[in-house]
Every structure is written in structure tokens, then in C-alpha cells.
Amino acid sequence: MISLLIAIPLLLAFVSVMWKRLAKPLFFLAAVTNMTVLLASWFPNSVEIHVMGSWKPPFGINLVFDNASFYAALVVNFFFFLVSLMPNLVESYGVSLMLLMAAANGFVLTGDLFNSFVFMEIMTITAVTVASRRENFYNAFKYLILGGIAGSIYLLATIFAYTATGSLNMAHVSMATISASSLVAITTLYAIGLGVEAKLFPLNGWVSGVYGGNDLAPVILGTSVSFAALYMVGRLFGTVFHGSGAGVLYTLALITIIIGEVAALRQQNLLKAFAYSSVAQAGVVVAMISKGTSRAMGLAYFHLTNDAVAKFVIFLVAGFLVYNYKNLNGVFKKHKVLGASFSMATFSLVGFPLFAGFQSKLRIIMELFSMKDYLFPAVMLLATLIEVGYVVRWNVKLWFEEETDEKADNPIVAGTLALILSLLLVAVFIKPEIFLGGAMKMGNALADTKDYIHGVLSVVKGGM
């Protein structure tokens, strides 16, 4: 059943290659079906797998469907669905978006290392096409190069893993005992390989260029794709390698946080500024994942969800502004709704109370203190301090500076979406369970290797 998540977008993509005009509606259709599929199978509190062909794991390729991958897929498809509601944003990118959707779903669902590599490649390439919108070719090219490198390193890691364990199935690999030295090699290479998509320092050079390059890329890459990538980080380092190599991730992540924030502070371009801030947030999430406990991971994904929602709103509004106005001073006087939702989203990003970010940030800090980690909270608070600086600066600039006489009509759909999502953030502050429950289940699923192995390698269900 869940293989539909990959199959439908793929199929419709090929269909729409023939009928270009149908691309947009088909994309919408794909998104809707995926959402329905997901809603139909709500939180399978067990591990289901779906084998390709009737090759039982560990021999065949299999998709794994447990709470973790379900929640990830839910978030991923949710944002694709939101994007599909905005035709003027999709324009002629329906095909690549559908491919991207298929790839992201596959990346999330697959239970096979090599397969995940394949999906990552597809994801990168389609993402590059998306990124090259609005003649943003040079940055897309950078992204392509980096993605290529990352892919090759990922592949290398996979090969190492294969040589070390003789298997490509994650469950199987996680069962096998790997010699320390090769484990180091494998985890390091995976860390680097995922580092590009997970926006880890110093592999995140592409981010500002790609996110700042046009108005579609950040909205989709900054939310869905990065969620998928960070999910994979959790899957590999949490489930498969039992948190070995977490030290690398932790260090890199802490550096990433600071670097991202200071880079965002000096940034003069609205989109790029928040691109950097998403780098920093990714750093927070990765550092939190590297802690390895189920609770920490759950909080990490809770934070990531809040961040993704906020970022979606921010990038939506920012993209609209950047490409409709030359001078952004006081534009929100003309677009009050956009402005309100933007401000709420940014405040949630900082973690002011009344918004979702507060919940996740404070929980994370509290968790860290209970783990007796005193460095990370300090770094995080320092980062938040810098964040306050530029968030307030942008809000003040966009609300209060003397406006120019440029005009642009309000985007109805985007405005409503932004408003709804920002209100959702407030709702999450009041009732965090909205995201927290799922995130926690995800965390448990990721941390619980035994269950995973048992679920994958036991009797086969479903299939096609």
C-alpha cells in the first residue's frame, strides 16, 4: 500500500511528461493521493515492510513503514501538498516536483542502504532543477557539484558497509558486528555524505545560493527535503549504527549553529538570511539527534517540525516580497496578513512564548541540562541571541520603515496558507501534543533498534 507513495508521483510524472499542461493538476493529484494514503494508514505502531519482488529481506529491497518513517513521510508530503495548492509557484516545475516528491518519499521509506543512495541521487538532481528556477544556474551548479560529491561519498560509505557486513539491508547491517576501524570509516563517510543535504558545516555552502536564488526552492527544499535528509541522519545514526560517530555530528553541528547564525546576522538579503538561519536550526536538530536517546531524538524532530512550518511561512512570504518589491521597507503596511504571519513565524523561530518554537527550544534545553550537557545549551542560547538580533531587525525593517510607492496585489492562497500555518504555531504552543506526540513516537521508533530488526526480518507482509 505505502509503495503508492513512491509509485504514484513517479507514474504521474512520466504521464505529465507527455501532457505538459497537465503537470500542475497531476502534481496536485499526486499530493492529494499521497496525503490520503498516509491519513489512511495513521501511525502503524508496528514495523511493516514491503518487499520489492518477492525477495525477502535481507536479500531484496524493502520499504520500511514504522512510526518514524510514517511521521517523516507525513511531514514531507504535507509540504508538497501545500506547495501543490499554489499553482503560480509550481509553474512549469510540476514534473520535477513530482519526481522530487517520489524521491523524498523513497528516501524516507526505504530500508536499504543502496536504494537510499539511489533515491538521494534522484532527490539531488530534481532539487537542482528546482533550484535552477529564475536563471539561478550558477548556484544550482554548485549544488549539483556538492550533491555529486556527497552522493559519491554516500556510495563509498555504502560500499564500505557492504564489505564490512556483506549486506545492504539496514536492519541486517545494524545486526552485524562491524570492526571498530571500519565502523569509523563508514559512519564518518555517512556523516559527510548526509552532511550536504543535512546542511552541516562546512558542506552547506550551497544553501544560501539555492534558497536565496528563487522563491520555489526554499519553500520545498527548506522544509520537505531537509526533513527527509535529517530523518535519514536519525535513521542511520540512531537505528543502524547505534549512535557511533555521534561525536562527529555533535561537533560539526555545534559549529554549524554558530556559523549559520553569524552568517545570517550580516546577510542583507531576506531569503538568504533565513536560509542561513535554517542552517543553524538544522545544526540544532543534528546535535540533538547525535545525543542518541529516544527522547532527545523526539525533541529534535519536534523542533524540526516547528522549524519547518515556520520556515515554510517565512520563505513563502519572503519569496513573494523579494520578487515583487525592489525596496522592502515597510512593505507589510500593504500586506498586513502576510506581515502578521511572517512575524509570528519568525518569533516562533526565535522561541518567544505564545509560539511553537518556545515549546521545542525550552524542552530541548531542559533535556540537555538533564543530560548534564552544559555546552550545547549555552551555544544554543547564544545562537538565539544572535537570532533575536536579525529577526527583530527584519521585522522592524519590514513593518516600520518608510514605505515606497511600489504596489503588488495580495496573494490570496499564499496569504491564507501562511496565516493558517502561523496560527497552527500558536496552537502548538498551547497544545504541543499536536506535533510532539508524533515526534516522540518517531524518536522512540528510531531509537528502538531491536523492534526495527525484528519487524524487518520477521514474516513478510503486503508486497506487490
Binding site: 558542506l203 555552502g205 553569524v262 524542552r363 538580533g389 516600520f400
Partner: protein
Amino acid sequence: MALSTLLISLLVTSVVIYFISKVSWRAGAILNFLIGVFLISYVFALHIGVTSNLGTLFGQKLQLTWTHASYYFSAVSLLVIVSVMLFAIKWLDSQKYPAAFNMFILMMTAGSLGVFMAADLITLYIFWEIAVLSSMLIVPMGKKESRKAAVIYAVMSASGTYMYLYGAFLAFQRYGTLNISEIARHMVSDPSTGIKAAIFLLLASAGIAKSGIFPLHTWLRIAHGNAPDAFSAVLSGQLVKLGSYVLMITVAAIPSLRVFGNIPFYSGIPATNYFLIALGATSIIIGTLMAIKQDDMKMLIAFSSVANGGYILIGIGTMDPMGFEGGVLHVFNHAIAAAVIFMAFASVVYRTHTKKISELGGLIHKMPITFLAYLFAIISLAGIPPMSGFISKWMIYQALVRKGMFITAFIAFFGSIGSFLYVFRPLAGVFLGQLPKKYKDVKEVPPVMWIPMMTLVVISLVIGIWPFPVLQPIEGMRMDYGIAPTMRIADSSHWLIKGFSGSWNPVLVFNLFIIGFVIAYILYTMFPRPKKVDLLAPHKEEGAPINIYTGGEYIYTPELYHYNTKFYAGFERMYEKHPSWEKVLEMLAKFFHDLGEWVHGWFFRPSPSAYTFWVSLTILIVFWVRW
């Protein structure tokens, strides 16, 4: 109505107020004012010890409780806020965003009330952020500079707040609770001084940042100086007091004398408290010296707020009964005085559209009521009887002299006499002297604007003559915190205020002043009537010179003959080349910018080949580290 319901409904109402104000901002403002009046009556009706639950946040109960401290601080805050709300009913028509102003000021009220009611650190933090956020959104509604001001305000306040948060969670991790009294109880029995001191200072830093104590004082100048004029009254009169409240919580609610009894520094005062006192003293010096040389009247009073924050901190920091009461009472005095002063300035700016002292003058004959309000406010601010400002200063001096803290006392005296200098500068430059021709037909502000000022002035005067109504809750607070519970300072039966070194009788002092005034008036009327000469040329027929002593010369241009630029030139010249802490902080900000520049240049701008280089370098480093 339970406290939690009150706060939440206030938050909701503020949004409603926004939409009402969209229809008619004046209706919104009046509604605000009515809500404020209701709040005051509500606060005075509440019984000490009422508690209520705000729900739970990650397993911690969020609790509100109503103590003497909450009662006192809320009453003072509401006094200021409500008068500003009344002031705003007319004043707002000179503003660009009346609706947003109405919404945020109500939201801020809810936030600050929450802070005063909070029983645990996290609740305090939540409402604190609400208050900061909403006030931070009002600040940039002012003139051009106010945009920058908002950012600086936000960052400074946040830097304090996050240190506080770190401290709060440190305490939580160590003592397993966030409830303030619980933490206090644990800290007393906690052996390790280092961690206690760390928690203490981290918690205090929020208050330091908010009440403009030395290392983090620089935001007051720019924020109070450029915020919308009437809102400066709230900023300086009320929001700064949030900081004082947090400082009081850290120093008194956590019984620092017992907690840090093992590290006494000087005459029984722990090193931690003494550190805070030193900071307070530094900010008195800085505030006074900088205030004396300001030409912008709002910035001048902003610096005076720095100095007075120092007084409050010193008073509370001594943890001496007199000092504590003096510090806490100074909160009231400075709140009222600063509010009135800023409202008077707001009225002046409302009429003349400038806040530069050197561009004003002689407004007394145009705006006499505003002048009187300002006059009495500065008498209170400078701590001169019979206004209430004197009582708190007297108490603080008592404490300092008793403890034999002569250097701190010296700084306190310096600040107090310096305050004569800087409060007199706007008095002379703005209200007295020659009226420039361009303000020939300036009018007094309408009653709805001067009534709040005058009300506050009268309150301050009455408290100055009969301070016991305010001293009672403060004594209650002192009992709560167990600072010399047996000692009584306010002896209302004999109309006396008793210090360790003799007492005094405010009523008597006031009567003496009246008697002296009466005698002077009798003498005045006994002798020949004066001939009124008009010192203001614009009033007389055209071409008539100024009728004051000019060495026999004819002067036709009053504004040139009005001495108000570099009023204390002789004194200012002595510290022209002073070092500036603002520059240091700017350097810090610039450092972060340059770091961002550097990072961007090295990691984010370069070509793909450079990326490959970085990737391989990272791989190598990681392998090298791990093998």
C-alpha cells in the same frame, strides 16, 4: 476572577482592542483606560496569598501567586500605565500606529502583571518575554532612530533574559524544581558556593539588563530617547521596574545573606551582593555624568533612569532593613517621577515637535501646568522634601552610613547632587528663560493630557507627607523575606520614620515648609509692588528690545540670548574625552558582523572547487581526529 483567567483574558482582549481601534482608535484608547482602571480596583481588592494555576508545561506546574511584592509592584506599574493610557487618549493623534499601540500596551500590561505574579521561574520567563516583545514592538513606532533602538533594546534585553534562562535551568537541574521559594529553600542548604553564585548571578543578569545596570545599560539611552514620547514614560517608569523586581527576587526572595553567609565581603554583606552593589554604583556614576552632558532631554532622563536603577540595586543589595525598604520605595518614587517627566516632555514635543533642549526655552508662560508637573517631578527625582523621593534616598543613606560603606555612600551622594544638575538643565533650557519667536503661539496641552501628570504629582506629594500607606506593604514584603522582622521603620502612630540614627517626621517638615513659605509671602506683600517688565520681546510692540540687563546693549533676538547649550560647560569640559561603554558593545556587535563576513567569504561564497576542498579537508580532519 482567578489570576490566570485575568491574564489570559487580558491577552485576548488586547487583540480585540486592536480590531476595535482599527474602527476608531480613540474608542480603543478609552477602552484601554477603562480596563486599566478596572485592573487597579481589582489589584487593590485582591487578598495576599491568592494562588492560581496556569496549567502545566513539560511537567512543571505554572503557578501564579499574589504576595506583598506582587501587590506593591503591580500597583505601581498600573498607576504609571493607566495614567499613560489616559494621556494617550489625546496624545495618540500625533502617532502613526494608534491601533497597534493600544494592542501592545495592553499586552505589555498583561505581561508585566504576570511577571509580578509568577511563583516560578518559567512562568516569570514566559510573561517577561511577552512584556518585552510587546514593548519592543511599540518602540520602533517613533522617529527614525527608534528602529535601531528597537533592535538594540531587543538584543540587550534578550542577552540578559537568556542568561536568566540558563540560570533557571541550572537551578532546575540541581534542585529539581522551578518554584522560587523551593529553590530558595534548597539553596540555603546547598553546600557548593560556586554553583549557587553562578545561579544567583545568572538569574540577576536579567534584572541587570532590564533595569539598565552598568554592563548592559546602553539600551536605555537610545530606546528611551527615541521611543514614542508617551511610551518612554512606561519604559522608564514601569518596564525598568521589571528588572528591579527580578533583582529583588534574586537578592531577597533567595535569602542571599543566609545563602552566601560563608563568603562575607564587607560588614556582613556577601561578595555576590557586593558585586551587584558595585555594578549599581558604577551605573550611578555613568548615568549621572552622561545625563549632565545630554542636550536631548529624553536621553537625559534615560540616563537618570540608569542612575536611579543603581540606587534601587544598591538599596536592595545591602539587605539591610533600611536599605531594602529604601530601595523598594525608590521603585515607587522613580516610577512616578520618571513617568511624569516623560509625559511632560511628551506634551512639550506634542506642541513644539522637538526634544532638543537647545531649540526650546521660555515655555513656562505658554505651558504653565506642564511646567508645574515637571517641577514637582524633578523635586521628587532629586530627592528633596516634601516630595516622596526624599524618603527613599534618606533610607538608603541610612543603610549605607550604618554599614560604613563610605565609597558607595560617596557615589550615592554624588549621584544625588549630580541629579540636581541634570534635572535643572531641562528646567532652565526648556521651560525658563527666553521664548524663541517661533513658539509665540504655542498652547497648553488639553486637560486629558495634564490631568494624569497632575494626579501622579499629587500622589507623590501626598506620599511624601504621609508615606505610611506605601511603607506598609513594603514592611510586609520585608517580613515575607525575613529581613529583621522585628524592626519597625514606619511608626505611623507618632508620624515618625525611624532610622538607626534618629528619626524624622515628614508631616512636621512639610508644615515647616508651609510656615516658611507663608512668612516669606507676608514679607513679600509688605513691600512695594513690583513693576512687571516683560522679558519676552515678541509680546511687546515690534522692535522693542528685551527688557533685561544687557550691558546697555539692545537685543532683539531672544533665542540668541537664552543660555541653554552646554549648560555646564565648565564641568563637562572636565570629562570630554571619557571612555564609552557603548563603543565597546558596538565593537562586539561589529565583531559578530565581521565574523559573519569572514564565514561567508570563506565557506559560502567560493566556487565548487573550493567546496570540494572543504569537504575533503573535513574528511581528513575527522579521520585524523578519530584515529
